[in-house]
């Protein structure tokens, strides 16, 4: 006689077996090559900047969870992503105490005030960076050229600046390709950009690695391919049209694609699931919006780079885009609001 007591659960009784923790962990895997390359290109300084950003994000997450009496959310890996991405968007000689502040802001202001993972409107790393940009406009636009021979032996003095003191830069500021273009009309060759031979933020310089990381995530169905495709496509078409009109004043579309933080932004920042829309149509608009903003800021704006602000603005619009560009529900004629 069969006497086993059975459990009951509700359908479906099978699942794809994906989990949020696994997705986040894989994003970290995809970011790691960029971290390593940036240490290789910019030396010990880049290591310290990324490391500080990471520690500060994890620490903030931990303390805030403790304070609010919530279960620690460190295990979902999202704070690791925020920390690494923040580090990668900063100049590799950025003062460490400022980096630390950036991490605290990213987690506290970028994520926690909204109610934690999933509730945040903006990409937390970009919130951190935006605040740093506003607070420390000089430090955040002071760069070091890549592959300095002494990059593993000396630590730039700016890194060790004391809190609330103006950092001293060693007077070696390598202009980024974008600022070189903006202010001096010099465009860097595509190959140098693709392989990260140029100066810039710690993690944004090697386009190839970023694309590979993105492809890895795409292959594992962990990013929405529409986002990078729509952003890069828009930038290419828009800047390409300008280039065709006037090749002397406007940069080539290839330069536009490969320079600055565009690749990093398109593959790793704008794709942050929480801040991007859900509906496919809304995603296309979201990506196109970012693309247009990037070109406009870079060419006509006062700043050399506009990726960060473009993504933050698009993040803010995302819920609205989802509302406007809803999927048409099966069996309905018109969109119902």
């Amino acid at each position: 006689m069969l006497t086993k007591t059975l459990d009951i659960s509700t359908s479906p009784h099978i699942q794809r077996g994906m989990s949020t923790e696994v997705i986040m962990r894989n994003v970290v895997y995809a970011i790691m090559p960029m971290v390593l390359f940036s240490i290789y290109a910019f030396g010990t300084a880049a290591f310290w900047v990324i490391f500080t950003a990471l520690v500060s994000c994890l620490l903030t997450e931990y303390v805030l969870c403790k304070l609010s009496g919530k279960e620690s959310s460190l295990s979902d890996w999202s704070a690791v992503i925020t920390g690494l991405l923040l580090g990668l968007t900063l100049p590799p000689i950025f003062p460490l105490w400022m980096t630390f502040c950036g991490g605290v802001i990213a987690i506290a202001l970028g994520k926690f005030v909204f109610g934690g993972l999933g509730m945040n409107v903006f990409n937390p790393a970009l919130v951190g960076r935006a605040v740093l940009q506003a607070a420390f406009p000089v430090a955040i636009t002071t760069w070091q050229e890549a592959f300095r021979p002494d990059r593993f032996t000396t630590i730039p003095t700016s890194l060790k600046a004391m809190p609330f003191m103006s950092p001293v830069f060693d007077g070696v500021s390598g202009a980024t390709p974008l600022s070189a273009f903006k202010f001096d009309h010099i465009t860097a060759p595509a190959a140098e950009l693709a392989f990260g031979q140029v100066s810039g933020s710690a993690g944004e310089t090697c386009a190839i690695l970023i694309i590979l990381g993105g492809l890895y995530l795409y292959a594992r169905r962990m990013i929405n391919w529409r986002i990078p495709v729509s952003i890069l496509g828009t930038v290419f078409l828009f800047s390409g049209a300008l280039y065709l009109l006037d090749a002397t004043n406007y940069p080539s579309p290839v330069f536009m694609l490969l320079s600055g933080g565009l690749m990093l932004g398109a593959f790793f920042m704008a794709t942050d699931m929480v801040g991007s829309p859900l509906n496919p149509k809304a995603i296309w608009v979201y990506g196109a919006f970012i693309g247009i903003m990037v070109v406009v800021v870079r060419i006509w704006g006062g700043l050399p780079e506009g990726v960060m602000y473009a993504i933050l603005l698009a993040n803010a619009l995302a819920p609205q885009l989802d509302r406007i560009f809803k999927n048409r529900v099966y069996g309905t004629v018109k969109r119902k609001s």
Partner: protein
């Protein structure tokens, strides 16, 4: 072109969205249907269908023969119940049902060596019967949707006076993983299916019939094509393997390119959909005026020893079935139906009913563990899975705040048919379908309350 289709999500031979769970059909799909043994006592619930309970017409102690009418339909949306075996009526009392509720039922003790002959009633003659007479015959045979819905088939077949049925659509998709009953029925009961189609065409007034079969059952499609009578306007359409291809609405979209309007029925686009096993049953029973006494059930899953497709007498206790096929020691959950929409049962004293298409047994290895639920990370996996193009993420957030009415009014909650695709995909393990089931019943309750006042 491929790329364009990909970019704009255009597919013409199937519905959009949906999921691809592992099929697990290889265990039983090549196993021919076998007669199951008779239990010493069969228990026939009088609520095996959606609608009013059947009314018993036998008394305790009465001797009945196989195929005899035991209970009549309790109204228009109801069907009769027939004796699956010759024997003595032992008791008429409440019995447990899969949903956990107690329902009236009949206990029938089989004669030890009863024969296989089945009592015949008044045949429904295909050539002379009117559509109404065929519908009546279908009801008298006690037929309900054998795909699992268990809705009385004659009600479904009744074309309203202001509507017109263009196409009779047979559902041979069987998109639930593990299940292979319809597959075997198509391979083994082609003649019954053709006959059933003739009755159904006449009953609905449709000029042509289409049978939709998932591509993983190509041999069934070939078989039905090879033996197709020349004069039968039946077209075999093979549709891609994708869950929930077998839902009525999705199959209509895949085979005909039409969408059933929200809140409407297939007949609103001129289609009547009937499960293929139901069709075979009609084709087999109506010429003899018999009632349904048994059905094909796939018994499978890692917890089952003798997996297979069995012809099981209606009313056979689940406990008896599992003891006969043998189960592993570490079984943990038993489902009636497939793993996507099937219901977990805790009570083995329930019976196999007309709507039981499969018995799936999971051991503690397959049963999904209590998983940590993360917040919704807006990954969009559910949105890209939902065949109804709803936004389960948004619905889930509203459900959490118990904003049920808003879900129904502004986010098409009532269009959710609980296929489970969203829950299957969700990496945060949010119990989306479960929330929607609750939400839907709350909305319905509120609505009927508003009506009552």
């Amino acid at each position: 072109m491929q790329l364009l289709n990909l970019l704009f999500n255009r597919h013409h031979d199937t519905f959009q969205h949906g999921i691809h769970p592992p099929e697990h059909k290889e265990d039983t799909r090549d196993m021919a249907i076998r007669q199951f043994s008779f239990a010493p006592v069969v228990v026939l619930p009088l609520v095996q269908h959606i609608g009013a309970p059947s009314q018993a017409v036998v008394r305790e102690g009465q001797e009945v023969s196989r195929g005899q009418l035991l209970a009549t339909a309790g109204g228009y949306v109801s069907v009769p119940v027939h004796a699956p075996v010759s024997g003595t009526i032992r008791k008429i009392a409440n019995v447990p049902s899969a949903s956990g509720k107690m329902v009236p039922g009949i206990f029938l003790e089989a004669f030890p060596f009863s024969g296989q002959e089945v009592m015949e009633g008044t045949p429904v003659d295909l050539d002379t019967a009117s559509p109404e007479e065929i519908l009546k015959g279908v009801q008298d045979a006690g037929i309900v949707g054998l795909g699992g819905a268990a809705f009385p088939t004659h009600v479904k077949l009744k074309v309203p006076d202001d509507k017109h049925c263009e196409v009779l659509l047979l559902n041979g998709v069987e998109c639930e993983p593990f299940l292979t009953t319809d597959h075997r029925v198509m391979l083994e009961q082609a003649e019954d299916i053709y006959m059933g189609v003739r009755y159904l065409l006449k009953a609905t007034g449709a000029k042509r019939a289409i049978i939709g079969i998932e591509a993983n059952k190509q041999n069934a499609a070939d078989h039905l094509n090879a033996h197709l009578p020349k004069d039968l306007p039946l077209e075999v359409k093979v549709v891609p393997v994708k869950y929930p291809q077998g839902s009525e609405k999705m199959l209509i979209t895949s085979t005909l390119g039409l969408e059933v309007p929200s809140g409407g029925l297939p007949i609103d686009v001129g289609v009547v959909v009937v499960n293929v096993a139901t069709t075979a049953e009609i084709g087999r029973l109506l010429p003899h005026g018999q009632g349904i006494q048994e059905r094909v059930v796939t018994i499978t899953g890692p917890g089952v020893k003798k997996k297979g497709n069995y012809l099981i007498p209606i009313g056979t206790p689940l406990r008896y079935v599992l003891e006969e096929v043998g189960v592993e020691d570490n079984i943990s959950e038993v489902y009636l139906g497939g793993p996507m929409m099937g219901m977990a049962v805790s009570n083995l004293d329930i019976s196999i009913t007309k709507g039981t298409s499969g018995i799936l047994v999971f051991t503690d290895k397959e049963v999904k563990k209590q998983q940590k639920v993360y917040p919704c990370i807006k990954c969009g996996a559910c949105v890209e899975a939902c065949p109804m193009f709803l936004n389960p993420s948004q619905l889930g957030i509203l459900a959490k705040n118990e904003a049920y009415q808003e879900m129904a009014d502004h986010h098409n909650l009532m269009d959710c048919f609980e296929c489970g695709s969203c829950s299957y995909e969700c990496p945060s393990h949010i119990p989306l379908v479960q929330q929607f089931r609750i939400a839907k019943s709350m909305v319905r309750k509120r609505k009927s309350k508003a009506h009552a006042n």
